[in-house]
Symmetry: none
Subunit: 415 residues, 2 copies
């Protein structure tokens, strides 16, 4: 099967948003063994969009349209499908009723144009959208499949997984050449170092191994093609095992596992709890930990002591200590970690104090200087980092380093 | 002038990387007043790439090719230009010598295929690349301009700015039509309601007004085309003023101003301070506030009381209250807001307690139920929300609502 993805939206052509949906869909289609030879983007213009979609339908078996399903007059995807597939729009009373209930439940006013989202090309199936008002669409006609999905990723991804993937999986069962990928996620080692360590394992075309640098971590993508999922999985499995053996514990997880999820899982496994005291990251570390479902078993308290007075008042860090060595110092980092652990009654306390910029740096304590304090029983330590990048990068890299400190301690801890 | 951007690379069609170059180039072209109606992506296949580029050359004056300029056999962009523009490749001795020096300086081995990067289509100019080995290319022939740029953004962006932008600026000077945009950022009103309120102001083609729904906010992009920046700015300025008058204070800011930046600016202007107490958002609200440079003047303390015991222990919320009405309740939200304000000694206290999911919901208290508590002098209130979406959406929408509550209070406050 050959597929083509067409993104519809002037905002994409103006560069106002980055098209992450296209990459997501490409990965999904690739995993199904569906070939994608072209991708196109076109603006909110009926004639040009119809012409682009007509070309896609002429050279692909499956065309996925992204965006343009909202309620406004700019949202043309329904009209494009109607025109290209010769399938006039029909208002679906069930969807209209559902939209009415959706707005009523939120005590919001439903304007008339909202009902445009209940218009369905003749013969198409509406695909329910759990996270928005615009349903997706699936039309099979003249040997072609046309799918339309809403643009926001939090709507597109669940909708694709629930309603489109199962259909495509069934349709490709006979001819399938499977492409399977696994991603190793690495923290605490740079891209060049990782590549140097595993260079000889990156030479083959199948399975292929490709490195990607992310902020504060490196990903290695291992991809294999085969006739069956089992064969492809055997190829990736063998390579992943060798990479892991070579790289050791800088590999913190696989695929979609985030560093915070890996740390929360380790805390749960080792039956430990942690409390956080943050200065320059201002709550982001706690925010990342609590973004993991189930984190309440291992995390219950954090403090954001953004000002010196707050460190003194809430954490009882001695004023004299801050006065003598400064808030951004190993001594204050250690005091914060110890005090938040005692305050919360947890096993570990972790603290962050640093200068995220853009202002506030000096020659002695430049922007990017961060101390991470860590209290573990009687052992209270502080590590020094000097991060580069913009404020947001420095804050993200700092939370990466703090989570990695916690992770490395947990790897060594008894259950 | 009409331009089309073609990205060449199988890794894009497989979704292994997100195409951020396309968004960057789109912004640059738009700022030059160059129209972009189509964008295409094609894999590393000579026939398909040539056919895609031929179509682009047929309908645009300027075609920018991205990627495929490296040294490997997969890097086909030079061959594609040679074929489509009938401009056979000629090895450039200066580039070859430069490549030799580049490798010698790095004590690296230069394999023969590296020299492919010294091949230039007849009549084309090589554009020096300060951050990599592959030069860019610029070919003018038969009234068309074809530009080829390397894919890595750290090579593409400086190369475009140094060698391509000046040429395009000069070429568009005569016919220049400047495109200028402003974005109004709106919180607390849905996309359809906004559109309903300003429908009559959205009818014109110049300036155009387009709505975009984001998680927890709506953006209206006002775009004008004119001969000069001044004329374009006058057109957008008039429309922005009318939209703001119509919409009132749901407009929180413009262009790149985030909601947290608007709130921090208002706090500073009105000389007020705020403290946060977060349960289900786990530090994200504090994290957003402290992401604003200079926020330390208005925010110094936050607590993350993720568990009931932490609400009791750290905030002294009565255990009996939680026992009788539950932690997710207006009563507990109010107590948290009041207590964190008193603990921190700030003007305002704002609290969040809710159920972010995916687990933990009941029929009576479903996933998405959130109470935001707000303490302002003797007035302590709680507002109820029911958000939909995934865990991360609910958490983000919750912080939007909390920031908006704070903002609305500040708008009414005396300086």
């Amino acid at each position: 099967m050959v597929a083509e993805v067409v993104s519809i939206g002037t905002e994409l052509l103006l560069g106002q948003i980055v098209d992450t949906d296209a990459a997501y869909l490409a990965q999904q289609l690739s995993a199904l063994g569906i070939n994608v030879y072209h991708r196109a983007t076109v603006g909110d213009n009926l004639q040009r969009a119809a012409s682009t979609v007509r070309q896609a339908v002429s050279r692909a078996d499956l065309v996925i349209l992204v965006g343009g399903l909202g309620p406004t007059m700019d949202d043309l995807t329904r009209d494009v499908i109607a025109e290209v597939m010769d399938a006039p729009l029909v208002r679906d009373p069930d969807i209209a009723a559902h939209l009415g209930r959706w707005f009523a439940a939120r005590r919001a006013t439903m304007v008339e144009t909202i009902l445009r989202q209940a218009d369905v090309p003749a013969g198409a199936t509406a695909l329910p959208n759990a996270n928005g008002t615009a349903p997706g669409l699936l039309l099979e006609k003249n040997g072609k499949i046309v799918v339309a999905l809403p643009g926001p990723p939090n709507e597109l991804i669940p909708l694709f997984e629930t309603s489109v993937y199962p259909v495509l999986r069934e349709r490709t069962a006979g001819e399938r050449q499977v492409i399977r990928s696994r991603v190793l996620r690495i923290v605490g080692s740079g891209e060049s170092l990782v590549e140097e360590a595993v260079k000889d394992l990156m030479q083959d075309a199948n399975p292929s191994v490709a490195p990607y640098a992310k902020t504060g971590e490196v990903h290695l993508r291992v991809t294999a093609r085969a006739k069956t999922e089992e064969e492809a999985d055997a190829l990736t499995g063998e390579r992943v095992a060798r990479l892991k053996e070579r790289l050791g514990d800088v590999v913190y997880g696989e695929d979609e596992t985030t560093l915070e999820a890996a740390v929360v899982a380790l805390l749960a496994e080792k039956k430990r709890t942690v409390a956080t005291a943050e200065s320059c990251t201002g709550g982001l570390l706690a925010g990342r930990i609590t973004n993991v479902p189930g984190s309440s078993a291992v995390f219950h308290t954090g403090v954001v002591t953004y000002a010196n007075e707050s460190k003194v008042h809430l954490l009882k860090v001695p004023q004299a200590l801050i006065g003598s060595v400064g808030a951004v110092s190993p001594e204050v980092a250690r005091a914060m970690a110890e005090r938040v652990r005692d305050l919360a009654g947890t096993d570990f306390g972790i603290s962050i104090t640093g200068i995220a910029g853009p202002g506030g740096g000096t020659e002695e304590k430049p922007v990017g200087l961060v101390y991470i304090g860590f209290a573990d029983g009687g052992k209270v330590t502080a590590e020094k980092h000097l991060f580069s990048g913009l404020r947001a990068d420095i804050r993200l890299r700092t939370t990466q380093a703090a989570l990695n400190t916690l992770r490395r301690t947990l790897l060594k801890a008894a259950a």
